[in-house]
Symmetry: D2
Subunit: 146 residues, 4 copies
């Protein structure tokens, strides 16, 4: 892990007005070494479900839970210094989220191969750590950062 | 297709404040009969990419494209009168969307089995009909509507 | 559609010993033009569930249903003359398959973009046309065929 | 973890003629407790790529790699004593497998919720531990084992 790497991804995050507008906060950002000796990005974020994110029954629109996971995915897979974009993402909903729920998303790069990578994100409810959604994202490197 | 069915789903749509806040418009909603004689829901919606949806490079956050697809998916799989929720969704991004792009999403129920169903959604750019994203959603019926 | 295209994919199919060993038969292979004017591959195959494919309760191992879908996917996305490989595949099981069931798989390329493509495959039981599984595959072109 | 649990899943494995016919060996089977205190199944298996599994270029048909992952997924999500079936599975191919390659698949239940569960499987090449494929399966409990 070098400071350069996190400078790159922190700059990317500062420019992400869409994530900021939703109140997504960056809690942690790191590059760690897996048991197999591979470097992988890791990120943790937090978002509160607001009035704008719910329907008439105060249940959050799944799209906002996806968006939180997707933002956290982008942080993790850019942390190692490569500039990557999301190629695809899959989310499974386990529990509904409600107005005022605080959600914490944790993303860990699972594997990279060539210009591709897979990152898993777990979204939990802060109060009891119950899993709200599981997300798997596929990333693609667009260019090497300098 | 009965009027009752569409009354049910239109009421659901009217209560979806989250979709309304993003400016998602419902263009079409119908129940059709497939070549195999199966009834299936169909929906078409439209959304414009706004300042709040883009990052510093005026590229839309993928979460908003997902949210558009997810809202359209919900319309299609509730159109046949059953009350369903999203169990999971997968999106593949083909082209980036930019500030002021108008996106049109078309959802068609592909198959239902027991309480489960699969719905495909294609998101296109209105100007040239280029495909921006393909989405496949899995739904689950929570109760039969009366 | 040109004869060259189908020569290429038919040669690939003749060399696929794995599909042949499972008794997968090629029923149809074509390149058609979609409503949007795009060329897309289409393929249809058939396989019978044998003793070797079932467990102790005469239910087919899902892996064989996936393999049938995957082979049909490869035929459809190579039909337009590009040499492609499977990047990923997702299968949803709707009904169990049993010993002696005859399964028919129909694959249609949904969209291509750059070197990538998405192909959908439906697997049906021949006797009553009931949908056994839905598959979505992501392909990637490795080189242009000459 | 109780012995009863593993008796149940071992009996299921002994009846799985399809996995046996492919030469899939069960290496490890266990129920462990996650960092969050949740019980989860874990399984490890091994399979060698044979002549019957390859095409004319000695590259394994992806369907056999999927089948290995799917069998290992079934072991892990039945290990905790519930009788589960695969609802869906997604595989991403990272490296081609070749004739005589020995593949090792490791499955770990990620989360369970109600009657549903998510299990991740990594398939590696035994010689160098390179990741060949990543698989995520969704399971569904059909009845509680007695």
């Amino acid at each position: 892990m070098s400071d350069t790497d996190l400078t790159h991804v922190r700059r990317m995050w500062d420019q992400d007005k869409a994530s900021a507008a939703l109140g997504i906060e960056l809690l942690d950002l790191a590059v760690e070494t897996s048991e197999q000796g591979r470097r992988r990005g890791r990120a943790r974020t937090r978002m509160t479900i607001t009035e704008a994110m719910v329907n008439g029954h105060d249940i959050a629109h799944g799209g906002y839970v996806f968006t939180l996971a997707d933002s956290t995915f982008a942080l993790a897979c850019n942390a190692t210094g490569r500039t990557t974009v999301a190629a695809s993402g899959e989310i499974t909903y386990l529990l509904p989220s409600r107005l005022d729920d605080v959600l914490v998303a944790t993303a860990v790069e699972r594997v990279t191969y060539g210009r591709s990578g897979i990152t898993d994100v777990t979204v939990c409810r802060a109060t009891d750590n119950a899993v709200v959604a599981e997300f798997r994202g596929h990333s693609r490197t667009v260019r090497q950062s300098s």
